[in-house]
Symmetry: D2
Subunit: 313 residues, 4 copies
């Protein structure tokens, strides 16, 4: 089923599981896919920054996309196709859609500066991949150094009908959600799904500002599912109670570079993947950092049974 | 008393209080100074980024420095003297020290890239201000875009005896503290006070990694004082309990640009300053954001009486 | 006489002459001012980047402005007032205008990214200095990392009537001049003086694209005067012949950082200033580089007598 | 024959010829290869930035490499293998070497900042491609925003024996060549070929500072061959006379983004390639710019017969 603007809930950002020797870990890929969907995620986004996409070659990227799409059955898989050039972007996008992906995600290259450069880039990207592929606009200025105002996002969305979703991870970003929802209220912006990333660090308030859900890779996506439901049900205090219990770990995961190491470590500890290995260049957790993560898991386990794990090897 | 490497505790980053018309608010400046010192802070750092220093002209900067130094009595005042050129830096540094400052703080200009450029810059800065002024090295890559490795910090500290303190606000930064303390353990780095900034977002673990305290502007510096004491006393769980209760607000304050607006708003609500006005270009809290801050204060008030405030206006 | 949009010719970017010990060299400042005006320059722009403005303190900046304005008599002096904050910008702008400056020049701070941020910044700058001061918009993306499209420049100029001139130094920038002149042809942009900087590297074609003259600091401003006249007179081949003879040196001067050292060295060799000293942090010419400059002067002297200098000390 | 540190002369940076519809133009590729080698170039560097490498997909990159290597016979072909990840870098590097390439070229990713990050990156790159492949270190800070001091280059070269050449295109960069040759004189740096890029804008003096030749894509590589020979023969004045005649066009080609359009246009006009088409995103010459290039060619033709071209279609 192709992605459209009605998408809601949690589309978890999936890491790419590797074996310690650097090869892709197929068994963990399957187990992880099963886990995410059983946890209540509505879909998965693969080959994003956290998926170490640039470290895969073109064949590997398509292979793992096919494997996950096949495994996921009816759940929607979004494939990150950001690339330094349009030829590679097109090849992956067409290949993934043929394999059954629900849509693709595109981030702006870090050289873009002016409003017009940004709008032009996405217009050319859509010409390259074809305007029949639903796609997600990734807005992550802290990482990509590209700043899109709400007005620029509106220009992109209005110009390009195949854009159906915003992966919102500006920081600070609460007012941006309000501005975009305001555009829709005044009729100047068509319907658009907004899912929030940035590690989930502001998801509590982002939902209240009008987001449709989460698209991030926090190691407890099952908690994100609960949070989105509580928030949608108007259970404000309960949503914040749940969020606040996880915030010390969410915050710890939100360390540039190290974050992925934390995330993979916790997923390995939860049994979701077999190894926390990254391809080079990657960052590893120090022994000290591992004890800090264990301490945080221990504290979290007091209120959330999902964090009560068997002692680390 | 001049600053030296034995400094510990909390040196609060002070905002500059303005009246709604943009003039400096002297009465609030006095009240704020009194509050910080009564709250147990060991000192104050003024005219930093959060102090809107670049928005003051040269005369104003020296005037407010003198006022706060006089008011603070024996407490140590550190004056931010970062400037686009050494002439202005020297003028403020010498003026502040003559007025009784304990030391100055210097940040690197955002044009520095290579290790050698960084080391040379600080050598020239010390030549400019004079090597008799104790100074704090500010390491804040996210804002200044200058990346100093532990090795570069060691070169600076070993070369320049008047450098007595590191304002540590790299992110992620836990391993950097461990690396510097490791240098000291192996004898390659002389004693150095390390106080942590970055809004306090990792202060719980930074203390455990060997930091000497905090130098940040979170609107509850009295909480920072407690946290540093608990951590120093080895009360790990109690320290984390206190920290975790404040984390939702610390996190909310940690929004680039908006952060200062949150901080000044909460200080105004606590009666520490009279207005949350900023000089231009500044950022203001939206009505919606104010209700979010009030909600966070309400939740915090359940466990920390300091956050139980009379209803807003 | 205040600056307005009819300004034409050469407004030379003046360096700030220093004595070898770092103090401002008043005698050289006077001699340089006389030289520039006798050479046919219509005005001077002081305290720009090449004027080492950030290395002066506030008092020095105003003092040297007054001295040059007084010395220049009826010639128009433009004072660079770019500053990290509006308080300092206002103080210098008002002071310079009271002393008789023709206008001021403002560059965008390097943190600006989006079109709206840029437009807002200049609006606030004009509010700060007052809308009665004619000002020059400096567009130098290579140095300031701020990219203004022709459309953004139009928004600024149309919004802010006191903006009367563009210091054009985008690179590449020929199409930008054509675009702006096209806006004027279609009635969407009001009259605006365009003077070109960027070391003069494209001045031959910039004049042909519609520029009104030069605002740069090449060490032979007397050549720039001739070139602008030849170009205005439609003497295309003669203009290029003159330009091409100077291009090897113009190109050599166009070295980031080192450029000012070349410029000051040549001016010293021509007897315009007494010393090529810079304040720290500055760059000096190596012995090898000095011989290269001398070689270039020797070659230039074959066709331009102004470059036939007595052998270096 | 594998590349080694004795390489001298001109290794021209080759563009990738496209047909107007965006497909690779094989016939032009062959003609261009023949032209470059008959013009006296010692080798070619393909799939660099000017070769629009990121716009090719993985298969295309390897295909065109094989075609050119086969066509070039004994001439040395260097293949740019810079990639966002090591998997793609390794695949192209091994594939190119198997096809008979003489070596590969690697540029640093723009995220590198500290000296250690840079050194580590190249160490990991060599581990990825294998230490049996001779490679060229590309030093182009203006484009890649990575600044390598002479000391860092020395660390890389001394650590990694398979690094045999520096593509020097720092700007300003003359002192860097002198510094590296000084390191070799004092025995701290092993032999290293230094070929200069940056459009050739400083090639006259770079040769005099000790460079071994040129690696750039100026549309008259046959002139570069002459210049390098004259310079090597100690014919200083003749070398500068030739260089200065071409400098107006070299300068015009040296426009960021537009430069490739100029280059391809002139090559098309010279009959070297069939079309000046670029893949998207690309920049095209305006009609006005084309007349400027024709004017420059006309002027150049007065002294260099190679620039006397039949009138443009």
């Amino acid at each position: 089923m192709p992605l459209d603007h009605t998408a809601k809930g949690v589309y978890v950002i999936a890491p790419t599981p590797f074996l310690p020797d650097g090869r892709i870990d197929d068994a963990s890929t399957d187990r992880m896919t099963d886990f995410f969907l059983q946890a209540g995620c509505n879909g998965m986004t693969i080959l994003g920054v956290m998926g170490e996409a640039p470290k895969l070659d073109q064949g590997e990227a398509l292979d793992i996309s096919k494997r996950i799409i096949r495994r996921a059955g009816k759940a929607q898989i979004i494939v990150g196709v950001s690339a330094p050039g349009f030829a590679a972007m097109r090849a992956l996008a067409r290949g993934a859609m043929e394999a059954g992906a629900a849509g693709v995600m595109i981030a702006p290259p870090s050289t873009l500066r002016t409003d017009d450069q940004i709008v032009t880039y996405f217009r050319q990207a859509v010409e390259a991949i074809g305007d029949d592929i639903p796609w997600v606009l990734q807005d992550y200025p802290l990482l990509f150094t590209v700043q899109m105002t709400p007005g620029v996002i509106r220009r992109i969305v209005q110009d390009l009908p195949s854009c159906v979703m915003l992966k919102h991870e500006d920081w600070p970003g609460l007012e941006k959600i309000s501005a975009l929802r305001g555009f829709q209220a005044d009729g100047s912006l068509r319907p658009l799904s907004i899912l929030c990333g940035n590690g989930g660090l502001f998801l509590d308030f982002e939902m209240e500002r009008g987001a449709d859900g989460a698209m991030t890779g926090y190691a407890f996506p099952d908690m994100l599912v609960d949070l989105v439901k509580l928030s949608a049900a108007g259970e404000r205090d309960k949503a914040h109670d749940l969020f606040d219990a996880h915030l010390p770990l969410i915050r710890y995961e939100q360390q540039f570079g190290v974050g992925l190491a934390v995330r993979k470590y916790v997923m390995m500890r939860r049994g979701i993947i077999g190894s926390d290995a990254q391809r080079r260049p990657g960052s590893a957790l120090s022994a000290r950092a591992r004890t800090e993560v264990e301490y945080l898991l221990g504290r979290l386990g007091r209120t959330d049974p999902r964090a009560r794990l068997a002692p680390a090897g």
